[in-house]
């Protein structure tokens, strides 16, 4: 089908690479904010086809990676309770907490189940009325409608034994944090296509203007990624501070209004601590107080969390695009996907995991 294979067409890929080479005259540092794009770039080897003038730096768009250590520890405390079935996206299971991880806890007998969709967790709650079912609701804007659809479904079914441990973060505040930092090197942005599918890209022109960076909404297939890079390079070369949409088959300027209404109904903006980066004000979402019944943090009131982060791991610098994984002394030796020191080595979107899997040096 052309709708999928057309965007993997090797002829178009070769031609886009040539167009980029023809256009570029300067060195440019471009950040792809989304970890899914980092993996797609490495999976298809696009970074090795691009001219050396382009440096791609990899952003913090990996919710597994930035979920705070405190929340991972809370997840561990809740999942250890005998009355709880703890459900999660698979990536979170190996993420190191201060003392342990969900995978090790599961091996010791805790009821922890991986689900593909949070709606599966609602089904588990229906089937286990004598247990409390908690879903670890991590994610960026893309995942919010899915996580909240589960909550809406649980409400519709009148379930009293379902709750969310919410760790939601948002992309625009992270872009502000990166671009506003005195150490920032990013000159152009590939905006995350699926975040924009939900939210649109109306929030981006003020960011582009404030920090003088072009932003291109970009998809995930090789042709999408190169088209996004080409449009960004053209804007940089012509000193145009514009927001462009290179993923128009999925993304509109206003996004999906129905999905946004769902988010508005259940979530309110809050400060969030990003693992490895620190507190970013107004950078996340939490459940509104009227839905406290479904808020696992309130239901289980986990207190006295003492966090302890690995002293070797440099994932914070990697998430901000300041270091590459290969600059970490533990990369591939002390830290591997089997024994990760930091979440960036765990997640299928983590930068360290991409460098490890695709053997980048």
């Amino acid at each position: 089908m052309d709708l999928i294979t057309g965007f993997r067409d090797p002829t178009l890929v070769r031609n886009l690479i040539q167009q980029i080479k023809n256009t570029i005259t300067h060195h440019w540092t471009i950040m792809e904010i989304c970890g899914g794009q980092t993996h797609a770039i490495m999976h298809y080897g696009l970074d090795q086809l691009l001219p050396t003038e382009i440096e791609l730096v990899h952003g913090p768009g990996c919710p597994v990676c930035v979920t705070s250590l405190e929340l991972v520890d809370k997840a561990l405390a809740i999942a250890a309770r005998p009355d709880v079935i703890f459900t999660s996206y698979g990536d979170m299971l190996r993420v190191p907490g201060s003392q342990s991880d969900l995978f090790s806890l599961k091996a010791k007998g805790a009821h922890i189940q991986v689900v593909y969709s949070p709606l599966d967790a609602v089904q588990i709650a229906q089937n286990n009325p004598d247990k409390q079912v908690v879903f670890f609701a991590i994610g960026f804007e893309t995942t919010a409608p899915s996580n909240l659809a589960a909550l809406a479904q649980a409400q519709a079914f009148g379930l009293q034994n379902f709750s969310l441990l919410v760790s939601h973060v948002c992309v625009p505040p992270a872009m502000h944090a990166i671009l506003g930092s005195p150490t920032n090197r990013v000159q152009g942005f590939l905006a995350a296509g699926h975040v924009c599918a939900v939210m649109g890209y109306w929030e981006y022109p003020p960011i582009a203007e404030k920090y003088h960076v072009p932003i291109t909404v970009t998809g995930f297939e090789p042709v999408d990624l190169l088209n996004g890079i080409l449009l960004t390079v053209k804007a940089l070369e012509n000193n145009q501070i514009i927001v462009q949409n290179a993923y128009s088959r999925i993304v509109t300027e206003q996004g999906n209004q129905k999905a946004q209404q769902l988010i508005q109904k259940y979530f309110e903006v809050c400060d969030r601590n990003w693992r490895g980066i620190g507190l970013i004000p107004q950078s996340g979402w939490r459940l509104r107080s009227e839905y406290a019944l479904y808020d696992a943090e309130k239901r289980f009131s986990v207190e006295n969390i003492q966090t302890h982060e690995s002293e070797i791991c440099i994932s914070g610098l990697i998430l901000q695009g300041l270091k590459k994984p290969v600059e970490c002394p533990a990369f591939g030796t002390l830290c591997t996907p089997q024994n990760p020191l930091g979440a960036t080595m765990v997640s299928s979107e983590g930068t360290c995991s991409a460098y490890y899997r695709y053997a980048r040096k």
Binding site: L12, A197, V198, S248, I250, V251
Partner: protein, 77 residues
């Protein structure tokens, strides 16, 4: 995490609770929540993330993008 998988709507399901559909992902069929797609119909393509359809995939926009990129190819040659 923000992985989205394209698929084709093959059936709209009539059941209580959220609006669900059967989506064909190149031979694998799965139930997907289409609550945020008010005008969805059988035969539409969509992008699915964690069991949730994010948007309808516009075939028109897709063809237009590909046509523009192929045109670039002609200019070069």
């Amino acid at each position: 995490m923000c992985l989205g998988v394209p698929g084709k709507i093959v059936e709209l399901l009539d059941q209580p609770g959220l609006k669900m559909a059967l989506v064909d992902f190149g031979g694998v069929t799965r139930q997907v929540c289409v609550e945020s797609l008010p005008d969805v119909k059988v035969g539409d393509y969509t992008i699915v993330h964690a069991g949730y359809a994010l948007n309808i995939l516009s075939e028109e926009e897709a063809q237009e993008t590909l046509a523009i990129l192929r045109e670039l190819d002609d200019i070069k040659e």
